[in-house]
Symmetry: C2
Subunit: 216 residues, 2 copies
Amino acid sequence: MKKTSSRTQGSRYYPKRYDFDPAARNAILDEGLVCHVSFTIDNQPFIIPTGYCRVDETLYLHGSVGSHFFMEMAKGIPVCVAVTHLDGLVLARSVFNHSMNYRSVVAFGKTRLVESDEERWLAAERFTEHVIPGRWADARQPSKSDMKKTLFIAVQMEESSVKFRAHGVGDDAEDMGLEVWAGVLPLKQVPQAPETDETGVKGIPVPDYVMNFKRG
Amino acid sequence: MKKTSSRTQGSRYYPKRYDFDPAARNAILDEGLVCHVSFTIDNQPFIIPTGYCRVDETLYLHGSVGSHFFMEMAKGIPVCVAVTHLDGLVLARSVFNHSMNYRSVVAFGKTRLVESDEERWLAAERFTEHVIPGRWADARQPSKSDMKKTLFIAVQMEESSVKFRAHGVGDDAEDMGLEVWAGVLPLKQVPQAPETDETGVKGIPVPDYVMNFKRG
């Protein structure tokens, strides 16, 4: 992971808001469920939100063989991938010092169509286990026909940066006497009660890995 | 809002997953707190996660006058802006039919530096009220010096699309007899208990608009 390119340096370098430790980056990536992938066609930027998983320095994406965007990525194009967790609203005494607590990764790389059966299978398994650990062994694993309908794209992270804010209110000294409530309102992605699909075999209990699902 | 360009049509047109109703788009945008903005420099795509607000057909972003990315956007460049809500994990009997419930907007437009004092003030107010309605009237509003340090960027949405999935498990008929639990695990962004900043004036109660904060 390079550290110093203008792609990832940040123009206003707040040391406490950047982290180039791969472990910090991986923790953010491994907690996320959706990434945003951006790429360029004829100088027009595009974004797609999509699922992903990380294996070492590679992010895997997958999509339908009929997807225009995935066919574009199959050509091998530069992309930028972002994963962002919003952790809270920072409500300062002054509007100007309002902020958000967040953790984000922005990674740069080139797409590669995954062609070998072994790597495609690895990507399918890791993807499933990334989203909800325990599911791969429990659900019906992909058939040859399922795999034929799916494109897997690998993005090796050539460069990436981690940015975060994880502290309290930062008001200016002259605002500290204001009679305005200030603080942080934390936000958290919380699983709700599972909704069982009642159309198949009856009486199958909700698995522990669903009941106990949590991220972060 | 144009409907038919290749930018927003979707290559595999699932009618039930697209919605070109401006009200559906606005509901998703108005619920979101963070967007991802993508743009291109020398054919390299970039993404930044950032706050935003919507006023009619315009999205407003703001950043520091020292920010490289905001200075780039001040030039007037094509951008793609995405807002995504993840609503749940769809756990089918087969791995292949796993999915996510989500709502997303992808909007295309060109950036414009906001120059008039009136529009800059409007953007500041709407931004604050977008994040947490009630805050603008309560907090110390921006001074001239605060405003000088801030760039406001407008993106008029020339074109946009809404994509969503909001239904249950879609397994193939031949998988319906499998003894695998299937269903949806809903996910929700939930505010946690507010954390009061104790360094200023004591005894200010947490405002109702903080206690009762909710989105969607």
